[in-house]
């Protein structure tokens, strides 16, 4: 048999799955977002109409969508830096020659990553319960007033961010730890001989050497955090006062509660474009930073 035919046979199952269950639906989504596909069309396809950019135009005039986009940006803008800071801090500690029991600490700090988000979100809901939760109990021990963590529109998103940091920091910690281990030890030795302080070693050796890894990790985390859904679904049901309704949460409600599938796919595409623009801008800015 010809070599290339064998290759295509080997490729066929995976390519077929990706084409039929991913590529085709993505193209279908684009088409769907130009229609008014709703409950009536679901019942009878003759009710389907082409509305061109109508759904997108309507989204731009819908305060609820802008609010959801705002909440999503809030989650990304605060959650990503906090997560990265926690990851970098933990990686530096684990990398330190002074650290003991490294295997245990690594596994313990990583454990939240493998847990099921839905299950641990349920746990957090009880830990941050206003009356019986540990969070308020600790505040009480410090003499502070209790906070209505998930019931107050100002506190619900910060609580979800706290949960996301706890759940996810271990993932980037492992990648950054590998990055730290790849920095040649001679650089630090030379710096020590020159009398550079620990902070200056971090600032002038560790950070620049870790730069590309940090950028990659930041981009992956940003695109992951834009897809906020399960946390508000379980912890707040998008509330209170829709303060934790993310774009995907809105998409899910529009699509599967109200069956406005045309509108919902338009929302998904806008989110995709926003994610693409933000990550592209991050790449660009970092390149310019390098050139300077």
């Amino acid at each position: 048999m010809k070599a290339s035919r064998v290759a295509w046979l080997f490729l066929a199952p995976a390519l077929l799955v990706l084409a039929v269950f991913f590529l085709l639906p993505v193209l279908g989504a684009l088409a769907l977002s130009f229609t008014d596909y709703d409950l009536y069309a679901l019942a009878d396809l003759h009710n389907l109409r082409f509305v061109a950019l109508g759904n997108y135009w309507a989204l731009l005039h819908r305060p609820q969508f802008w609010a959801a986009l705002g909440h999503t940006f809030y989650f990304v803008a605060v959650g990503v830096p906090l997560s990265l800071a926690a990851s970098l801090g933990a990686a530096l500690l684990l990398h330190s020659p002074l650290a003991r029991c490294k295997a245990f600490f690594r596994a313990a700090l990583f454990a939240p990553v493998v847990t099921t988000a839905v299950a641990t979100a349920v746990v957090w809901r009880y830990l941050f319960n206003t009356k019986y939760g540990w969070a308020n109990h600790l505040l009480g021990m410090l003499g502070l007033h209790p906070v209505d963590w998930l019931g107050d529109p100002h506190w619900a998103m910060p609580t979800i961010i706290l949960f996301a940091v706890w759940k996810n920091f271990g993932y980037n910690m492992i990648i950054l730890l590998a990055g730290l281990q790849a920095v040649p030890a001679e650089l630090y030795e030379a710096a020590r001989i020159d009398g550079a302080s620990a902070w200056r070693q971090f600032r002038h050796i560790t950070l620049p050497m870790l730069g590309p890894t940090l950028l990659m990790v930041a981009i992956l985390t940003v695109s992951g955090y834009f897809q906020l859904f399960a946390e508000p679904y379980v912890m707040t049901e998008g509330g209170p006062l829709e303060s934790t309704t993310s774009v995907l949460y809105l998409m899910y409600e529009d699509g599967f509660q109200w069956w406005n599938l045309g509108v919902a796919t338009a929302e998904a595409f806008v989110l995709f474009l926003v994610m693409f623009a933000v990550t592209a801008a991050m790449l660009r800015l970092s390149r310019r930073g390098e050139a300077a």
Binding site: L15, V17, F22, P25, A29, L32, V114, F229, L248, F256
Partner: protein, 273 residues
């Protein structure tokens, strides 16, 4: 800084971090053994004074969690097994078999990674609705049967295999499938283990697609069943914690026993091709 002080600081911070990471999990475990209603007290109890298994029994006898557990095992196991087979074949082909347009096609696949999976979910639901696959095991598993990341992982690893070995087998007249099964697959064992753990865990923890696709409780996975209970507020704290333990424990145990493979895969996946 004083070296002993520095050592105490580093290890103290690590200990604090580990406590924060583990506390919610340990608290969940402790509360799951408390009799119904006893965790809602002040100060919140940390330890079950009289540990009971009632919450677990209730979940199995009345909430039907055994079914969810079985569904989760079936769906995650099925996805892991099938996607493993498909990704291995494709990844090996991209690494070692020659065909026109190989690099271009691979770049197209990597390009797909930019598109978030949720974009495909609504049309996929419609497609399955017209195909009669909504609320079925097949429907929830099909989209997961191949993944670009999995193909990428296998390709990365398989590129390191020596070409001479494959050529020698070809000269001996071995067929390509024979070469793949008898020579390549044993050499790929580490990446097979890694990929199996990664896909099983991802499928087990997956939430949004099963939520859309599975409309009846008979097919619910553990995360779906748990989320539904959480939103309906029908079960008490202790029972919800028991449900969370049942959801989290299998994946935590799998991770702890296969830690090496999991972390290797995570690093391999994060290296640019």
């Amino acid at each position: 800084m004083n070296p002993r002080l520095a050592k105490a600081l580093v290890n103290g911070l690590l200990l604090g971090g580990a406590a924060v990471a583990l506390f919610p999990l340990l608290w969940m475990l402790a509360v799951s053994f408390m009799p119904a209603g006893t965790s809602n007290a002040l100060p919140p109890p940390l330890w079950p004074a009289h540990p009971v298994l009632d919450n677990y029994r209730q979940l199995f006898e009345h909430a039907g969690i055994g079914r969810y557990l079985l569904n989760s095992l079936l769906i995650s196991g099925g996805i892991a097994l099938l996607s493993l087979a498909f990704n291995l074949l494709a990844g090996y082909a991209f690494a070692k078999l020659r065909f026109a347009g190989r690099e271009q096609l691979f770049r197209v696949l990597l390009g797909l990674l930019v598109v978030p999976a949720q974009v495909a979910m609504l049309p996929l639901f419609l497609l399955f609705k017209y195909a009669g696959l909504v609320d079925s095991y097949a429907g929830v598993m099909l989209p997961g049967m191949a993944s670009v990341l999995g193909i990428f992982l296998v390709r990365q690893y398989a590129r390191g295999l020596p070409d001479e070995l494959l050529e020698a087998a070809r000269i001996d007249g071995a067929g390509e499938l024979h070469i793949f099964l008898r020579i390549v697959l044993p050499l790929l064992r580490p990446v097979v283990a890694t990929l199996a753990v990664l896909t099983f865990l991802t499928a087990w923890n997956d939430f949004m697609w099963p939520l859309i696709e599975l409309t009846g409780q008979g097919h619910y996975t553990l995360p779906l069943g748990l989320a539904t209970m959480a939103r309906e507020h029908t079960e008490g704290t202790e029972q919800m914690m028991a449900g969370s333990v049942l959801t989290v424990l299998p994946v935590l145990a799998l991770f702890l026993s296969m830690q090496r493979h999991y972390l290797d895969g995570l690093l391999l996946g994060s290296v640019k091709g």
